[in-house]
Symmetry: none
Subunit: 259 residues, 2 copies
């Protein structure tokens, strides 16, 4: 029971295609087209749909808005302009939450999008239950129709998923991989011993603060076990004391280095 | 301090224009373009911008990602694909809230968007602090670049409108101190050169992946300028090549070390 997207008198096939692609990106499947200027479906729409052929092929064409919404229970109309109509006005986020709750009640819903230049007429708006408008910068309030469809589809998807993080196609580092503190502490001690030997902690009375600064810095990276091993390898490499046995010429060189 | 939108190697002027329009719709003004295929600005971009001329005319062109982000403190990269990189991943909503809080601390931020077909490379991703990915339907995960810009810009606008001053009695590290990317990139290059000399990158074919892993690890710590200086001092100390002049006995010792 996802909302049906209804494009009213779109002028360009490209815009229908781009809207279909935006729908498919966010899991909307049902498209209706009211009195398109070009015969529909057409190749321009299909090309712009960029793989969302199922949305184009499944789209239905209607002669007017009344016919296109006849079987629906609740309809939002999108508009960027203030109207002299006593209708409820929502942003796409609140509207999506509402559409989601209607879908839970098995109610068929739709969202109307107007013509590229002139939008929806007041007559068409008065066939809808409520208005969606977008939180645009008033200096640039004109959205491409496919962009408006995208924002509504995006909010629908988030409303459906309920939690943004669950709907992402992949996740960041797995918290389960975060190194145990004992590994981290051994890394700290390794680094600090090496820096001690290199004479890094000067003047000596500043050492406690310098050590704390290094530790908090490393902590903030939330290192994995593998990353802790990598960093210990980095320290060993830089101090020219690899964990593998030193080649003889390096042992000799180290023996000649002071402190 | 709105985030800067950075388009990496866009192929078509139309896409730059549509992205600029989407930015203007939601109050974003600063656009950077990395190595566009067509001369930029151009008429196609201006036509597609549909009134957002100020964004097009104010856009700056850069030869590479490193140059385009050099003066920024925190950079998100957008990608639709899972990557073998240990980077934080957010949806646009959480990212926008984070960008808004950084803006409150007067920190310059940016969001990278990749090429139309191939997106961003892993090398480019490893120059960023974290990833934004969109909660798309996995069957149709490919978004037009301007659509991706739109969603990020929309979430930015909502985050900005909803922002409330932080009411906590004290705060964590001051985001205003975050190192600029150019300092971070110099740190990376210093570390990688030292590790190269130390023979750390073995086998050589694994070097690109090892470099990316080190860069993402360091990025996750969100280092301050002072911390970048400290880490460069750490590297210099460990490689026994302090930034201060070497005492004579050390110069003598170094002269005897091979490699």
């Amino acid at each position: 029971m996802s909302p049906i997207i209804i494009l009213v008198e779109p002028q360009l096939g490209e815009n229908i295609g781009t809207a279909a692609r935006a729908m498919a990106n966010f899991g909307l499947e049902q498209l209706r087209v009211v009195n398109p200027r070009e015969a529909f479906p057409n190749d321009k729409a299909r090309a712009a749909a960029s793989g969302a052929d199922a949305v184009i092929d499944g789209a239905a064409v209607y002669p007017g808005v009344a016919e296109a919404i006849a079987d629906l229970g609740f309809v939002y109309a999108t508009t960027a302009r203030v109207r002299d109509l006593a209708m409820d006005v929502s942003g796409p986020r609140r509207a999506a939450a509402h559409l989601r709750s209607l879908a839970g009640d098995a109610k068929a819903t739709g969202v109307l999008f107007g013509r590229e230049r002139t939008g929806l007429t007041n007559d068409e708006l008065s066939l809808a239950d409520a208005i969606i408008t977008l939180p645009v910068d008033p200096r640039h309030s004109s959205l491409n129709v496919a962009q408006a469809v995208l924002v509504v589809a995006y909010e629908w998807r988030l409303a459906e998923l309920a939690h943004e993080e669950k709907g992402l196609p992949f996740a960041g580092p797995d918290a389960a991989d975060i190194a145990a503190k004992e590994d981290l502490i051994r890394l700290f001690e390794h680094l600090e011993a090496s820096l001690d030997e290199a004479g890094f902690f000067r003047p000596p009375e500043k050492k406690p603060h310098m050590v704390q600064a290094l530790r908090t810095m490393l902590h903030r990276a939330h290192l994995s076990e593998q990353e802790v091993r990598t960093l210990r390898g980095v320290i060993a490499a830089l101090e020219a004391r690899p964990t593998r046995p030193l080649p003889p010429h390096r042992v000799a060189a180290r023996a000649k280095r002071p402190g």
